[in-house]
Symmetry: C2
Subunit: 127 residues, 2 copies
Amino acid sequence: MRIAEVSKKYNLTEDTIRYYEKIGLIPRVPRTKSGIRDFDDESCRWIEFIKCMRNSGMTIEVLTEYINLYKQGDKTIEARKKLLIEQKEKLLSKQEEIANTIKRLEYKIEIYNEIAKGERKDFLKEP
Amino acid sequence: MRIAEVSKKYNLTEDTIRYYEKIGLIPRVPRTKSGIRDFDDESCRWIEFIKCMRNSGMTIEVLTEYINLYKQGDKTIEARKKLLIEQKEKLLSKQEEIANTIKRLEYKIEIYNEIAKGERKDFLKEP
DNA sequence: TATTGACTTAAAGTTAACTCTAAGTGATAA
DNA sequence: TTATCACTTAGAGTTAACTTTAAGTCAATA
């Protein structure tokens, strides 16, 4: 699989994919004899994994650390697990924060609805 | 209330608060005769609101748009409501994405646990 | 055979969101 | 009254995460 195809498949620009490889965010992608990237299944799975984690806000720094541990083999399994647990905790906090913000927005939207229906004359004291 | 106090109260640097005011992310804060910011209740509520929204990932661009609408008065109430609804939708998507990532991390962590307990010999095919 | 187009690299540029610096003012403590 | 300290401003600098550019290679098509 060439980079163009992978780019479409995961909706990431070719530049971003090359960039991810360059900084070690995904393991080195195999090349053809003429030096062109030839993505195999494993490369694709890494890209999909990184994309998922990045989209949830995990930093490149943390993810490259994870890849570096992976490259060092099975002796880093505990360290990798620890890293994943920490990141999961972070996502849980974030999830809570977002849930609260959504509630707050819903409340504000409700007030706007009441105003629209004329049920509220005490015009909006923002915020 | 002076900026130092507000900074502690909301855990934002003084620079960030001044920056937020400068770019119009919060309405202009009242000053003493000698020109020093004197935060009243409303200013504080704006800061708290903006902090909450920023922490959930809402962009400065969207938030300044909201403040600008607010400054134009009641005729922008519908527009403000629309903006909030859009942002709420975005947060809902984000929430879902994060929930999926958390599940994925939990699955991976579980596999690491099985490996640790020796229940799995097929050593980890990442990712 | 010449040219097109997808690929390569290294390195410079961009964007969002701060963060810091420099130069200056005004009120209070020694 | 002098010096300290919290504040002011405008503007330059930083960081993370891309994104673009420039210069070049290679394989397939006109």
